[in-house]
């Protein structure tokens, strides 16, 4: 039975990745995720893995691209402006169908922004960010435990879909300590078994098979169109099978909050405050941001008069919520931005005002 430990989010993320069989990590210092590269630099060499402190996030994502393309199980982490630099790499990972797991311990933006927690990278991570027709699969944990569990799942999904998976962990999750049970360790695939386990990887043909080439350039556009059409069904499958959410107290709710990550915990507290004042409030907590869990909104019953999006951005998630609701209910935003956090009492008060105005 695995032991429950009090761990800082960033160190728990790194431990979970190693236990998931990850042996390669490439990173560049940026707050608030520095504990991850620090931890990996200490721990990976002890278990036969490798760490490089890259010269930039661009270099880090491209080191990851080389390691993953040649069969390694790779984690990269960064924070908002660093993830922006990594978008070049994500587009290449998607283009060549190469698995990788990335964690965005996000902060306030735009630009350098602040080093306090933010959720203003919603569009950056869910809309690709890099060039071309692709999606990144995005998980949104709301606790350190859930992040740790999602990291294990992210490696499985990345491998199955041969696509980048991003864990959207805001600065709160990276920096806070919570009790956590780390899942048991999976042994890494030894180098000699890589050709069997990942036959698509560039591992050297050993004069036994045709050579593997990973190409991203298509000089004949007809072939690129065929190629995109050939891999697109996996995104349709992801929309059917990976969209995930958690609903709380939707039955009879007058107002339904929508939130993800740490902010979902604030929304849940705001809902409790409203209930004490006689206003029934529910919550839809998004566990995946792409695919967006559209089905969740079919669970909203006739009692609900208003949907309130609580997020640490200027309403980036709200646009997807409006799209899912298709105009059936009014949608409002209760937010803080720039690295400021939402207070449950403030969120409850602002929600009451929204309901009164209506």
């Amino acid at each position: 039975m695995a032991e429950k430990k009090l761990m800082k989010g960033n160190e728990a993320f790194a431990t979970a990745a190693i236990n998931a069989g990850c042996r390669f990590y490439f990173g560049y210092p940026i707050t608030p995720q520095n504990e991850v590269p620090e931890f990996m630099s200490r721990e990976l060499p002890k278990c036969g893995g490798a760490f490089i402190q890259a010269e930039s996030e661009l270099a880090a994502v491209n080191m990851a691209y080389g390691a993953a393309s040649s069969g390694g199980k790779v984690l990269i982490t960064s924070s908002s402006p660093g993830i922006a630099l990594m978008q070049e790499g994500f587009s290449f990972f998607a283009s060549t169908q190469t698995p990788v797991v990335a964690i965005n311990v996000s902060r306030g933006g735009p630009g350098v922004g602040s080093i306090q927690p933010g959720q203003a990278d919603y569009e950056q991570v869910t809309r690709g960010g890099g060039n071309g027709d692709y999606h990144t699969i995005v998980f949104a944990p709301a606790s350190v435990q859930e992040a740790v569990d999602m990291i294990g799942k992210a490696f499985e999904v990345a491998e199955e879909y041969r696509n980048p998976v991003i864990i959207c962990a805001d600065g709160i999750l990276g920096q806070m300590m919570e009790p956590v049970v780390i899942p048991p360790a999976i042994p890494p695939v030894p180098e000699e078994d890589l050709p069997k386990i990942r036959p698509w990887a560039i591992t050297g043909h050993k004069n036994k098979r045709e050579k593997n080439s990973h190409n991203s350039v298509w000089l004949q556009q007809e072939k690129l169109e065929d190629y995109i059409n050939s891999y697109w069904p996996k995104y349709d499958k992801a929309e059917r099978e990976l969209a995930d959410w958690e609903s709380t107290d939707l039955d009879g709710a007058e107002v339904v909050f929508v939130a993800y990550g740490s902010t979902a915990r604030v929304a849940l507290e705001a809902a409790e405050i409203l209930k004490k004042e006689g206003i029934k409030a529910g919550l839809i907590r998004l566990k995946t941001l792409w695919p967006f869990p559209k089905e969740a909104f079919k669970e909203i019953g006739p009692s609900t008069k208003h949907v309130v999006c609580t997020e640490l951005s200027m309403g980036q998630m709200m646009k997807d919520v409006e799209c899912a609701l298709q105009g059936k209910l009014p949608v409002s935003l209760v937010n803080r931005v720039g690295g400021m956090l939402l207070d449950p009492i403030d969120a409850a008060e602002r929600t009451k005002k929204i309901l009164e105005v209506k």
Binding site: I202, S213, S216
Partner: protein, 248 residues
């Protein structure tokens, strides 16, 4: 009958897209011959750049991947962590390596990455149609300096081999040329030594290869060789800058 010349196993039979007189074909073949002679075609892992040689993997008979523009040394560093005993190399042009990829090449060399870098310097952007490269000579014409590069407007051409040689992590650094048969033989020797340095895990190896681009220089293949010999070899000294004792 004893064969005097054979198609190397290292090259596929795919018809090359390179222009007539371009020296990419020679450089590709030298790298593949060096691997073939060490019986390493089955183990080698290569990275192509963005530029004319982006699809070099179609011609080289080994496992290869393309990288984003300039990032090949970072990609190769990642590959080498997963396959520490396989020969890993990048094949890059001057726009890729000496312009957009300067951070990646400098830091791969500084870390002493146990990889080989083959740097094709033809003093111009080929694939995009003849724009000025970081290695374009003063006075040389390009589509973004139609009256010739001037120091006042664009600064001076970068001598990459000399820069790389200042870094302790780079243990083998040589500049070679493909403008004469003798130069081609010396280029092959440098490529072989670079792989030997990697095999012995001595550090980073860098071979700069002076090459031609008749199409974008606007000259015939023969005159391209002549121009490179007279002008490029004057500015870019053909020289071995560094070589470890173990492989001398």
């Amino acid at each position: 009958m004893k064969p005097v010349f054979e198609y190397t196993k290292g090259m596929t039979e795919k018809e090359m897209h390179y222009c007539p007189g371009c020296t990419h074909g020679i450089a590709h073949r030298l790298v593949m011959e060096a691997l073939d002679e060490k019986d390493d075609l089955g183990n080698a892992l290569g990275v192509t750049p963005i530029g004319c040689s982006v699809v070099g993997h179609q011609y080289m008979n080994i496992d290869m991947m393309e990288s984003a523009h300039g990032r090949a040394p970072a990609v190769a560093s990642g590959i080498k962590r997963v396959h520490p005993n396989s020969p890993v190399f990048t094949y890059q042009g001057d726009g890729d390596l000496a312009s957009i990829g300067t951070a990646e090449i400098i830091h791969a060399a500084a870390r002493g990455e146990k990889i080989c870098v083959f740097f094709i310097n033809n003093a111009i952007y080929g694939m995009t149609g003849g724009q000025m490269a970081p290695t374009t000579l003063i006075g040389q014409k390009a589509t973004t300096c139609v009256d010739g590069r001037t120091f006042a407007q664009a600064g001076s051409p970068i001598r990459m081999a000399e820069i790389i040689a200042t870094l302790d992590g780079a243990v083998f650094v040589e500049r070679v040329t493909l403008t004469t048969p003798g130069g081609v033989r010396k280029a092959k020797k440098a490529i072989q030594t670079a792989f030997e340095v990697q095999e012995k895990k001595l550090g980073f190896s860098f071979v700069e290869i002076i090459s031609t681009c008749p199409t974008n220089w606007g000259v015939t293949p023969v005159n391209a060789l002549k121009w490179a010999k007279e002008n490029m070899e004057d500015y870019y000294e053909i020289k071995q800058f560094k070589c470890p004792e173990e492989v001398k």
